[in-house]
């Protein structure tokens, strides 16, 4: 066990674990997109960045790939980190506004406006599908090709792969494939619907056993009831 300083508190963590694992162990919430516990960390989405070091020598690292070291000083929610994360989420929303996972991130982190033209792409290059295919399915049917803005996920030579067993693992794990609550017809770039819910259902229904994150299903009912009352 080694000691690190996490947000000003000295804590003990197992040697060899990453900053993200240490933070999760101590309940410090760090947003991630390209991270999955069953896969090797990749560090592409940069949402999990934290500030390490002290004074003027601080720098940002992605917590999912950075191993802890004795005496490491970590700040997970400094002003700069939060600002950077918000802008990254803004870029993600502008890239792929149709994804529920990304919209949820935006709502959760208070991203309330998108200053960029939406691109409506289907892939944010998080690399989850590539890793699932390689590590869990042991197929290696897909990978990255090209570089820079032409980088994409594809099969070798862009032809149907012989090693693909069409297991669907890539679709299952894809954060962009999970569509927004509104379905395919999207009116706005940013959803933020969850932020606009005024009260949760439990206050309306006495014996509700609601485990969902804010959902709008019972709100309609409530509105109708209010209408009836007015009548």
């Amino acid at each position: 066990m080694i000691t690190i300083r996490l947000n000003g508190v000295d804590v003990q963590v197992r040697e060899g674990s990453t900053i993200l694992e240490a933070c999760r162990l101590y309940g410090v919430p760090i947003p991630t997109l390209c991270y999955n516990e069953g896969l090797k960390p990749y560090g592409a989405c940069r949402l999990c960045i934290v500030e390490i070091g002290e004074g003027e020598n601080t720098r940002f690292v992605s917590s999912c790939t950075y191993p802890v070291d004795a005496g490491l000083i970590i700040k997970t929610h400094s002003k700069r980190v939060i600002q950077t994360r918000k802008l990254l989420i803004e870029l993600l929303v502008a890239l792929c506004p149709s994804s529920k996972t990304i919209q949820d991130l935006a709502s959760k982190h208070g991203v309330s406006k998108i200053r960029f033209k939406p691109k409506y792409v289907n892939c944010v290059l998080c690399g989850l599908c590539v890793r699932v295919c390689n590590e869990q399915m042991d197929a290696r049917a897909i990978g990255f090709s090209n570089r820079g803005k032409y980088r994409k996920v594809t099969t070798p030579f862009n032809i149907k792969s012989e090693v693909c067993r069409t297991c669907g693992g890539c679709i299952y794990i894809c954060p962009a494939c999970q569509l927004r609550c509104q379905g395919t017809e999207i009116q706005t770039t940013l959803c933020n619907a969850c932020l606009n819910i005024s009260y949760p259902c439990v206050d309306v229904k006495d014996k509700a056993l609601c485990y969902l994150d804010p959902c709008a299903s019972c709100l309609l009912e409530e509105k109708e009831r209010q209408k009836e009352k007015k009548k």
Partner: protein, 619 residues
């Protein structure tokens, strides 16, 4: 005859003495600059012309030819230097060959026509050492280029080569050697400036066998070619440095990672490796000390990001060149998971120099924290383009005005971009900045590998920043969201600025994006990618404002914001511009001022370039 391997310092000494006393050494020789730059300007046909004339007139005993790497003064290529006098002839043509041999070699006369003339004051400089371009330099690494045939190891031995290696293997323990390099305070010439001695000691202490060393010759900055010139002109100095480094670290195998776009460098380095093997400087049991080391050349496919060390390692392994998170550093887990040390070409070439002259001598050159000399490639709108080697701590003004000979066509200096695409633009008011790693960093730029692009008043800084961002966008590996999308969005805004539809708060958004890309990206490419933007925003904000608020491009570069028109006072009515206009937008009779139809004009600028009377103007 097979070459006997050299086994000891005495054998090396006797070989050197034999070479020095060879009667052919007394024959005057013509050193022909024939690096890639020289060959492009036609040095090969000049060599052929010289050879033909020598053969025809049987002058083998009177003159020797030496085909060398780049001499450095690329502006006046192809150039030749005649030794022992050191007479410098510029822009030589094949037809000049007989005259040079007859007049200069045989009759000892200087041909006035071929002598270098300073474009600023018309002064003539017949001797190479007098030319201002060379005079202010301190050429420790590049001076030998002109005396060495890179394909001939004996030339290198003659100049004192492999003496340092011999000395190291005989007198130093690896630890002593590392201490010597630490004391010399040599810093990595690849850009980041990490102290080389410390880097070596990390790798030496690391657990794991075998250990590897790599020479990083993946030079990709636009307008930079220092490493190419060293590998082409003096490959043995790099190899010697690598063998010494391998001894210090305990490595048994080395790689030279060079991009395939440098065919001559690949060829010369391969020849040099073969020759070094033949003479026993590489291979098993070097100098009879039981130390084994071999070098392989790995050719890169030319991705800029493969200059980053972790991406380079992947590329050597045959994988896709994508940087990875450090730690673990390559010194702990590098090539195939083994301790690996990577240094730049120039760093390796510095090693024999330090060993031969001692760490105290080396640490006297330069500034407090940056020691030694640095090779820069001075390019852009400057009179004397070329490779220059200067001591650290020299000011930009000295480089640009004394060595570079000032700005082309008498225009005004505007900025200099140092450190390649990841560097920043330094404005005129900071010309007295002393060049070292720290001061450049403070000025918002970096040392980088040593590119230096000079810009004049006709350069639009917004356009330049956009150009470098586009370069980085193409060359980014595309893994990190921050770099891939950050650069893309910055270019989007920059395009809006140069096209004239940006809003004023876009500057704020640009700054925010730049900070984010700088902070959140993983590798050096991403972290330094906003530098051109940040430095131009810092020093040339008024230009951004002019583009956004007044929809004007002060330098007259951004096509969407300018208008070509004909000044009736200057126009002589020569009709020279009428025909070349692809849009037929220019009308007018002979001897009368012409006119440009603005609705047809596509702003190609052909008329502007063609007009000799300054009649076409930019608004």
């Amino acid at each position: 005859m097979t070459q006997k391997k050299i086994r000891s310092i005495w054998e090396l000494k006797s070989l050197r003495e034999k070479l020095v006393n060879d009667p052919s050494q007394k024959i005057p020789f013509i050193s022909i600059s024939s690096g890639t730059c020289g060959q492009v300007r036609g040095s090969i046909s000049i060599i052929q012309a010289f050879r033909k004339y020598i053969k025809k007139n049987k002058l083998n005993e009177k003159v020797r030819l030496k085909i060398t790497g780049c001499h450095g003064f690329c502006e006046v290529e192809p150039n030749v230097i005649i030794y022992p006098e050191g007479i410098f002839y510029q822009k030589v043509k094949p037809t000049d060959a007989p005259e040079i041999i007859e007049e200069t070699i045989l009759n000892k006369k200087i041909i006035e026509r071929l002598v270098f003339t300073d474009p600023q004051n018309g002064k003539k400089f017949p001797y190479e050492t007098d030319i201002p371009f060379f005079k202010k330099q301190e050429r420790l690494l590049t001076l030998n280029n002109r005396f060495l045939d890179p394909c001939n190891i004996e030339d290198y031995i003659l100049s004192g080569g492999y003496r340092a290696l011999c000395k190291v293997l005989a007198d130093y323990s690896p630890e002593e050697l590392i201490t010597e390099i630490k004391n010399s305070k040599l810093r990595g010439r690849g850009g980041a400036g990490f102290p080389t001695g410390f880097k070596w000691s990390f790798c030496r202490k690391a657990q794991g066998e075998p250990k590897y060393i790599i020479c990083n010759a993946d030079e990709g900055d636009p307008g930079a070619y220092m490493d190419r010139s060293l590998l082409e002109g003096n490959p043995h100095s790099v190899i010697e440095g690598m063998v010494i480094g391998a001894y210090a670290i305990g490595a048994t195998e080395g790689f030279i990672y060079v991009r395939n776009e440098y065919p001559l460098a690949v060829e010369n380095a391969s020849i040099a490796i073969e020759q070094a093997k033949k003479y026993g400087f590489l291979g098993n049991d070097i100098f009879g000390c039981g130390f084994n080391f071999k070098i392989k050349i790995v050719r890169g496919a030319g991705a800029f990001v493969c200059g980053e060390e972790t991406a380079l390692i992947y590329s050597v392994e045959g994988k896709k060149g994508t940087p990875r998170q450090r730690p673990p550093f390559p010194a702990q887990k590098g090539l195939w998971g083994k301790p690996t040390n990577i240094n730049n070409v120039e760093t390796w070439a510095n090693i024999p120099l330090i060993i031969n002259n001692g760490d105290k001598w080396y640490s006297k050159i330069g500034t407090n924290k940056s020691k030694g000399t640095k090779i820069f490639s001075l390019v852009g709108k400057i009179n004397n383009t070329g490779l220059i080697e200067v001591p650290m701590g020299i000011t930009l003004r000295e480089i640009i005005y004394d060595i570079g000979g000032g700005i082309r066509d008498g225009k005004r200096f505007k900025a200099v971009q140092t450190g390649g695409p990841s560097g920043g633009c330094i404005p005129e008011k900071m010309l007295d900045l002393q060049i070292d790693y720290e001061s450049l960093l403070q000025a918002g730029s970096i040392m980088g590998s040593g590119g230096m692009i000079v810009m004049d008043e006709k350069t639009c800084m917004v356009d330049i920043a956009k150009y470098f961002l586009k370069f980085l966008q193409d060359e980014s590996c595309g893994k990190c969201l921050s770099c891939r999308e950050g650069i893309d969005r910055m270019i989007e805004i920059m395009t809006a600025i140069t096209d004239g539809y940006a809003k004023e708060d876009d500057i704020e958004l640009l700054m925010e994006l730049a900070q984010m890309t700088k902070n959140a990206s993983m590798c050096g490419l991403g972290q330094t990618s906003p530098n051109p933007l940040l430095s131009t925003l810092r020093y040339f904000k008024d230009e951004y404002i002019a583009h956004i608020r007044y929809k004007k491009c002060p330098a007259g570069v951004c096509k969407a914001l300018i208008k070509y028109y004909i000044d009736p006072e200057n126009c002589k009515g020569c009709t020279a511009c009428v025909k070349p206009c692809p849009q037929n937008a220019i009308t007018g009779e002979k001897q009368k001022p012409h006119k440009i139809d603005q609705t047809k004009c596509i702003k190609c600028g052909i008329c502007y370039d063609i007009c000799k009377f300054n009649g076409v103007k930019i608004e």
